[in-house]
């Protein structure tokens, strides 16, 4: 019984993390049709920025936990705004309208550049910024000790998911964005500044990536390569949910999180395989993903 409860808790926590990591990727694809390989680097930049700030804040031993959480979120937003603006204004705006495959290659090149840039800025040694993770303590649920920080991550993922959904479905700006998603040419003809929408979307997507990294930093050792590891998982989530679908990313994350937790508890030898096994199964049944729409190809 304890193992089943553990699967539920672990699966939900992991799913929350997966959703946070994948949300920015799916938002950018949904609006801009860019499979952004550099999203993993945005995650890593958020993690490094947060770890540096937390290290600085606690360096004299007098930091408070509450302020450190604000610092995490502040770092993520600042890093997202700066990096998003630089990448969109400095590179991507010159590439709009190109083939989707070409955009994958361009963002992959960007990932390689950013990985090296991070080594130049932060070096290759690990960064350890655990204070926010341990400050919240832990709870015992049905005999299982769980970190409150991890539980709080579920809340953050729900808030982010609802905020994205509300923004797209309940605001005028969201309606304009949906018009761009539906048909960017018609939206443009109706007076929508599509390029401004792209810029806004990219900044939000980048900030979601840096936020995921910043919130993960306190529970890991921040080292070179963490972004590359994460991008593969993020792709699995958005492919299972359907490229460009927020609700798809949420359901995909939950499906993969729970599947992985079940494997870890009941069949650890399949743990490496399970995420890609589930992804293959979903794609075999619904090639467009759980919430993806089948689109007629324009000729």
């Amino acid at each position: 019984m304890l193992s089943f409860i553990a699967v539920l808790i672990d699966g939900t926590i992991y799913a929350s993390w997966l959703f946070l990591v994948a949300a920015g990727l799916t938002v950018i694809y949904g609006v801009m049709r860019i499979l952004n390989m550099a999203h993993g680097s945005f995650y890593a930049i958020g993690a490094y920025a947060a770890a540096s700030a937390i290290g600085w804040y606690f360096s004299d031993g007098t930091g408070s936990a509450g302020m450190s959480f604000l610092l995490l979120i502040g770092c993520a937003i600042a890093a997202g705004l700066v990096v998003g603006t630089l990448v969109e204004r400095g590179l991507l705006r010159f590439m709009y309208g190109r083939d989707e495959i070409l955009m994958v290659i361009i963002t992959y090149a960007l990932l390689l550049i950013l990985e090296d840039a991070m080594k130049l800025i932060w070096g290759v040694n690990p960064y350890f910024a655990y204070q926010p993770y341990t400050a919240l303590g832990r709870s015992t649920i049905a005999g299982l000790k769980v970190s409150n920080y991890d539980l709080a991550l579920i809340g953050v993922a729900v808030v982010v998911g609802l905020a994205l959904w509300g923004w797209l479905e309940r605001t005028n700006l969201g309606k304009i964005l949906r018009a761009v998603i539906h048909d960017r040419e018609v939206a443009s003809a109706m007076g929508v500044n599509v390029r401004r929408m792209f810029f806004l979307t990219f900044i939000i997507g980048t900030t979601l990536g840096t936020l995921a990294g910043a919130l993960t930093a306190p529970s890991i050792s921040v080292v070179p390569g963490i972004g590359v590891e994460v991008i593969v998982l993020a792709f699995a989530v958005v492919v299972v949910g359907g490229l460009g679908s927020i609700e798809g990313a949420a359901v995909g994350a939950l499906l993969l999180g729970l599947s992985r937790a079940m494997a870890v508890h009941f069949a650890p030898q399949f743990e490496l395989f399970v995420i890609y096994g589930v992804m293959s199964l979903v794609l075999a049944i619904r090639p467009q993903g759980l919430f993806g729409r089948t689109l007629a190809r324009k000729i």
């Binding site: 304890l2 193992s3 553990a6 699967v7 808790i9 672990d10 699966g11 926590i13 992991y14 993390w17 540096s52 290290g55 600085w56 360096s59 080594k119 932060w122 070096g123 290759v124 040694n125 690990p126 960064y127 350890f128 655990y130 993770y133 341990t134 832990r138 299982l144 000790k145 769980v146 970190s147 920080y149 991890d150 993960t216 529970s219 890991i220 050792s221 921040v222 080292v223 070179p224 390569g225 963490i226 590891e229 992985r260 937790a261 870890v264 508890h265 650890p268 030898q269 743990e271 490496l272």
Partner: protein
């Protein structure tokens, strides 16, 4: 933050060293110097915990030897009087790339010897090429037990570090000596050859030395996974008394942080075979009493001898922190090379041939920062040294960590006799082991 600044400076320093060394080496094929290729991770996840400390140690030792600043028996300048020139290469990129880099070092850069390799995959790929090219090669860290079982008649390849099986035999002997009543053991390893082999060696040794202890859970997450929530729950529900892990680098630090925050380490003692490499970073996140190792008498476990005292001071003066075990292992390997090359002799200032140095290295006994090393296994090509384990202790007042309750097991107690594989030796119940 200050530490992070120092780390950035270290990385920048190593990068500068590498670039500078490569630039000078490219246009000086035969300059009368003893040219040594130093191969270790300068990028990727293994760079921070292992590669950078190793490269830093190489710089400290090479500079010290060139100045003749080391204590006896290494108080003569350079190697056989010839100035040592280091050519530093990044080990990242996989075995195929490393074979190309190795050929480049030997054939184009004309190095006299290569000291390097952390990854077991790289060692296994390089060993036959080194023999083919007749290039003197000293493996300083990789732990694969297959190095001299696949490469059965080595001439030019040597390993001054210990076989990985030694880590786990030593770990079980430490448990048997300090926690003989333990009955429930769990493990978490990175899912590749290193983790799987470590777990096999550990569990097979456990079956022989602590037959009452049973394995209640084994987890093998992907290397560099970073998030271990589900694995920690799976370990927790089995209520183990000891959790063995061969994790290294960021994975090890993340696991300890998360397991401690989740309360797993309140109830179980972690046994970390590579734990010493994060001694200064664990702070209060590793509970006191955590059992840690250093893969031999290296780092904080290095003996209190004149050579190590010099090395620790020189390294600390240069980099603001004490050397961890990968750094000591690099220093140990370079000293072994100097001992062998000078034993090979020749005129002062001349560079002995690879053949002469290899013949002198074979079966040699040399003094080092880690004590006395005997090249007594694999027909004189594999070092035998003791291994130590101890428990972690953090002092929040000083912010310093230390190791206590250290037990050292002699090389003959934890190393298979020559001609016997570690697997066969463990399964046979360690015949011929001489324990202190």
């Amino acid at each position: 933050m200050k530490t992070n600044t120092i780390k950035r400076q270290l990385a920048a320093g190593v990068a500068a060293l590498a670039l500078g060394a490569m630039a000078t080496a490219a246009n000086a094929a035969d300059n009368g110097k003893y040219r040594v290729g130093i191969v270790t991770f300068l990028s990727g996840p293994a760079a921070g915990p292992f590669g950078i400390p190793s490269a830093n140690a190489a710089k400290v030792i090479v500079d010290g030897l060139n100045k003749g600043a080391l204590p006896a028996p290494y108080n003569t300048k350079g190697i056989n009087g010839a100035e040592i020139e280091a050519v530093v290469i990044d080990e990242a990129g996989g075995a195929t790339k490393q074979v190309e880099e190795f050929r480049n070092l030997v054939q184009r850069q004309k190095v006299d010897a290569v000291v390097g390799y952390i990854s077991s995959g790289d060692c296994l790929a390089i060993a036959p090429v080194a023999e083919e090219l007749k290039a003197l090669t000293v493996f300083y860290d990789c732990g694969t037990s297959r190095l001299f079982t696949d490469n059965t008649k080595p001439t030019y390849t040597f390993r001054t570090g210990l076989d990985a099986a030694v880590d786990n035999i030593g770990a079980v002997r430490y448990l048997a000596a300090t926690k003989p009543d333990v009955t429930k053991i769990a493990g978490i390893q990175q899912n590749y050859a290193w983790g799987q082999d470590s777990w096999t060696d550990f569990t097979e040794s456990l079956a022989k030395l602590m037959p009452k202890a049973k394995v209640v859970e084994s987890q093998m997450p992907k290397v560099f996974q970073g998030q271990y929530g589900a694995e920690i729950s799976a370990l927790s529900v089995k209520r183990p008394q000891v959790v063995h892990s061969s994790f290294w680098g960021g994975d090890m630090e993340a696991f300890v942080l998360q397991a401690n925050a989740r309360g797993l380490l309140d109830d179980a003692v972690a046994l970390l075979t590579c734990g010493e490499s994060a001694l200064d970073r664990f702070k209060d996140q590793a509970p006191n009493g955590t059992i840690i190792g250093a893969r031999g008498p290296f780092g904080a476990f290095a003996p209190d001898n004149e050579l190590n005292t010099w090395f620790v001071k020189a390294y600390t003066d240069a980099y603001g922190m004490a050397p961890t075990y990968p750094a000591t292992k690099m220093a140990h390997a370079i000293l072994g090379l100097k001992a062998a090359a000078e034993k090979a002799g020749g005129n002062n200032g001349s560079v002995p041939t690879a053949e002469a140095t290899a013949a002198a290295f074979k079966g040699a006994t040399f003094e080092s920062v880690s004590g006395t090393a005997k090249m007594a296994r694999a027909d004189g090509h594999q070092a035998v040294q003791p291994i130590s384990y101890g428990t972690y202790k953090y002092d929040p007042k000083t912010g310093k960590a230390s190791i206590e309750n250290i037990i050292t097991f002699s090389g003959e107690c934890v190393t298979p006799p020559d001609g016997t594989t570690s697997d066969a030796w463990i399964k046979a119940g360690f015949p011929g082991a001489v324990c202190n």
